[in-house]
Symmetry: C2
Subunit: 156 residues, 2 copies
DNA sequence: GTGGTTTTGCAACATAGTAGCATTTGTGCC
DNA sequence: GGCACAAATGCTACTATGTTGCAAAACCAC
């Protein structure tokens, strides 16, 4: 709300060599460093929970970053395909996006069944050693814990 | 395709006292035994994988059971709310429904990342003993294994 | 700076799910 | 069997979320 209106005449992106965390992440994936990508990634990095397309769009708007709905979809898809972000299909029919601050996305998630919030539980991926029925090839395990988040659980 | 056209003039549902598995399940939940509910539940009971709203609707149509899209949504919702069926938000944005043939829905699922198929892994729910960050109240754990199903894994 | 490729914006479309309300149907009771 | 009444259905319209195609703009290597 306060730190806007800084890049009024800046149409080529990062002219100096000092890259932010978001910027380096993007270039590391071989993508172009665009206003929307950087902003979205920074929003995701700063978030303490997974965000919907809509929430991210709102955050962008609040920062005065003009963008198109479709562009945001494509940006998020790109982040997921690049392995930078992860996508979770929620119970409500909105996908939520997040980035694992540290390394690849190998951790469990907590889903609050009351407010719908989803948080990453980094450093918590129990080695699931199950014996599948024959023929099934296991790739990865996805663990989602359901319950009440600290905010929602207060009243109980 | 073959066993249709049997209840042409039968407008009150089960006049004899012998109830099918689906029918007893429905009455046990305090619901009314309707044509659509019975058929849907039987379809789900017979399925070896979770089915989408659309797939179920198609199956109903094939059985000559006239129904409305909305009714099917409501029927499925009711089955889930009653605890008879379970709902899974897939990667494609279609929810898939299934019933646990035995008892309540406490098991893991396998999701084929190639064909999108989801199967219930009954009798397989590893006791997930994780220590959550403070304040979080754990209700249940949801485990989804990702990989290739027997059909899709053949080529690999 | 220029050229070529990637990314964006726009408009139109598609799919999945929801809401309100009149009509029909299942069930308990006689 | 027939009645009364609540529960479930069918319809129509609507919302939310995501997708496609294509021309214009923005990045970036040179
Ligand atoms: Mn995560
Ligand atoms: Mn299941
Ligand atoms: Zn909550
Ligand atoms: Zn498969």
């Amino acid at each position: 709300m306060l730190q806007n209106h800084l890049q009024l005449t800046c149409n080529t992106m990062s002219t100096h060599t000092h890259l932010s965390a978001a910027e380096s992440l993007i270039t590391a994936q071989g993508g172009r460093v665009t206003r929307t990508r950087v902003a979205v990634l920074e929003i995701l990095l700063a978030a303490d929970q997974s965000l919907t397309h809509d929430e991210i769009g709102l955050a962008l708007a609040e920062q005065g970053i003009k963008h198109d709905r479709v562009t945001l979809y494509r940006t998020l898809d790109w982040l997921v395909e690049s392995g930078v972000a992860h996508k979770m299909a929620g119970d409500d029919r909105a996908r939520r996006f997040g980035v694992a601050a540290s390394g690849p996305h190998e951790h469990a998630h907590f889903h609050c069944d009351r407010c719908g919030k989803v948080v990453c539980l980094e450093g918590l991926q129990p080695a699931v050693a199950v014996n599948l029925p024959g023929g099934y090839q296991l790739d990865r395990a996805e663990l989602v814990l359901h319950g009440a988040c600290p905010t929602c659980g207060k009243g109980a």
